[in-house]
Amino acid sequence: MTVELRQNYNKVLENLAAELDISPSKYQQAVQRYTSVGNWIADGEYDGVQGELHIYTQGSFRLGTVVRPLKEGAESDYDIDLVCELPLKKSSTTPASLKKSIGERIKENAMYQKMLDKEKKRCWTLNYAEQDGIGFHLDILPSVPESVDLIADLIGHGIPGDIAKKSISITNRERENVYSWSSSNPNGYAEWFETIKRPVFEKMKIVQKQYIFENNKAIFNQIDEVPDQLVKTPLQRAIQILKRHRDVRFAGHEWEEDKPISMIITTLSARAYQHEMDLYSTIKNIVEKLSTLEQLLNPGIKFSGDISMLQLINRNKDGYWIIPNPVNPAENFADRWHENGNRKAKAFFQWITWVKEDLVDILQLSDVGKITKTLEQRFGDRIVSKATQGVWLSMSEIAAANAGIPHIDIDNPSKPWSY
């Protein structure tokens, strides 16, 4: 493996993640859409509500790890999660009336009423069909601040006060007309994630914003207008690539239902991240740490040293798997991993092996053609050809460009023929 090949491979991975990401113009469109809905909801009248509604994004859109979803192998619309937090005491309302009051307000707007999907378990969903054919599903999540008791409990479990105080209560529709509360902390999670990425983010911010500005002058008048959310650290890029890799690898697989959830991929990647500055090292480090833990499939194994300090995946003496939510230790992302003979755990470690083969070991091939072919199998021809465009250039080509010789990338060539 040469230094040049590694650099170029890094560039290809960067481009690949950027292709999976939402484009700056699409991002702006999404912000406009959710800001309008947010304003509409905030302007409503709600029983007992005094003061401002707090409306903010959560999930991958907030974390900057959005990947355009695949549905049945085809690119699909973006999902955006919007938390709508009413300044109400949890004890002064019920989940049913909270869910209903937000739903009523959405329906007061004729346009939103038409876009409104049938009621979901936790949210109301607006479906936006956009002119460019790439739409949005906007999930609006009604919530109130978490009760004081529960927040105190979290602090007691070692969660810093300022993060614990961001906890909210969200509604669950168990069945027709039966609702319950559950606890969540999307704001706290985002803050936890940001703390991890911040040192690298600060280093990369200026250069990336400059680049985004130069390439999107139709959208931004000056560099300052480029939002922080468009700057991507290798951690975020790695998560985007891992998520898409998972979707493609498990599509049609017998374990598709058991594929690792995005929250697990995001949490473990962030925990394993060591502030690497390039994407290849980031993915390599994440995969190497996680593949070591595969031994947990053998009962009774104990880890010590660095790997146990990271609190990635644990298994208790009863064989249950534990991946705690970093902002709520009571929530276990792996609570169903032991079911069906640890199938979800097995699927997870199988996937890690795949990632290692497809994205890390591939560089040992030292063959640009083979690397491209493997990536194409995993991420699709079109997207990989875009990501590799102009990257695998040799010195002779750079010389050609300097000498003014036109360069052409051949795609879809005709086979020669003759009479």
């Binding site: 080509e397 051949i410 086979k415």
Partner: protein
């Protein structure tokens, strides 16, 4: 009529010369040609870079742009056995494919047909094999190119689809001949309608007859061409 032709050529060649600076427009024995050296740098799907240069001559037919140009390589570097027609012109692809890429533009003709062809020869010189394969000679190659175009492996399906084009009998509600059990309009229909822009019924009839003769002789089994073999 003639005036229109040269006017069109002049505009198109200016566009071409902006990119490919060493080519020039000349008149030779009463016909129009574009001649000169064609240096290029090319990659295939972003990989396998090749920088090379050929001396070429592009012949503009009198009924341009209804008919695409033809091209010869002037230094004898490409042997006559390598996909050249009996008249010495390079065979850039099946006739229909050439039209679909040419689309009435000289720049397209150079960048989507000539350079990919020259690239494949340079690649062959360098590595001893062809980068994107080749079609068999003659009618068999036509069958193969239609199979690829329609994405089917059965020659009889090619006949069925070509039959629609050759007779000009497109009926969207009929079953698609490819056996998908879908209606034509929901299957190969839009592709057929697009193809009608590139060739006349008679030309499709000609292709249909060629395919038919190959299939009747039972020759539609892939026979490897000399350049497909590793040397």
């Amino acid at each position: 009529m003639e005036y229109n032709l040269s006017d069109n050529i002049e505009v198109q060649s200016l566009e071409l010369f902006k990119v490919h600076k060493s080519l020039q427009l000349i008149e030779e024995d009463g016909s129009i040609c574009i001649k000169g050296s064609l240096p290029f740098s090319a990659t295939l799907y972003g990989t396998c870079p090749i920088v090379d240069c050929y001396n070429i001559k592009i012949h503009i037919p009198t009924d341009y742009p209804n008919k695409p140009p033809t091209t010869t390589e002037c230094d004898g570097r490409i042997p006559r056995t390598f996909h050249t027609n009996p008249d010495g012109t390079l065979c850039l692809g099946s006739p229909l494919e050439v039209r679909m890429k040419f689309k009435g533009s000289l720049l397209n003709y150079v960048q989507k047909l000539i350079i990919p062809f020259l690239y494949s020869f340079s690649f062959y010189e360098k590595y001893g094999k062809l980068p994107y394969g080749e079609l068999s000679h003659g009618s068999l190659g036509i069958v193969e190119s239609y199979k690829e175009l329609f994405g089917v492996s059965d020659s009889k399906i090619v006949l069925g689809l070509l039959n629609i084009l050759a007779r000009g009998k497109y009926r969207g509600h009929h079953d698609c001949p490819c056996g998908s059990k879908k209606r034509l309009r929901n299957c190969h229909g839009s592709q057929l309608l697009d193809l009608m822009n590139y060739q006349s019924k008679d030309e499709f009839m000609f292709d249909l007859n060629q395919c038919f003769s190959v299939i009747r002789k039972g020759r539609d089994r892939s026979v490897s061409n000399q350049y497909s073999r590793k040397s």
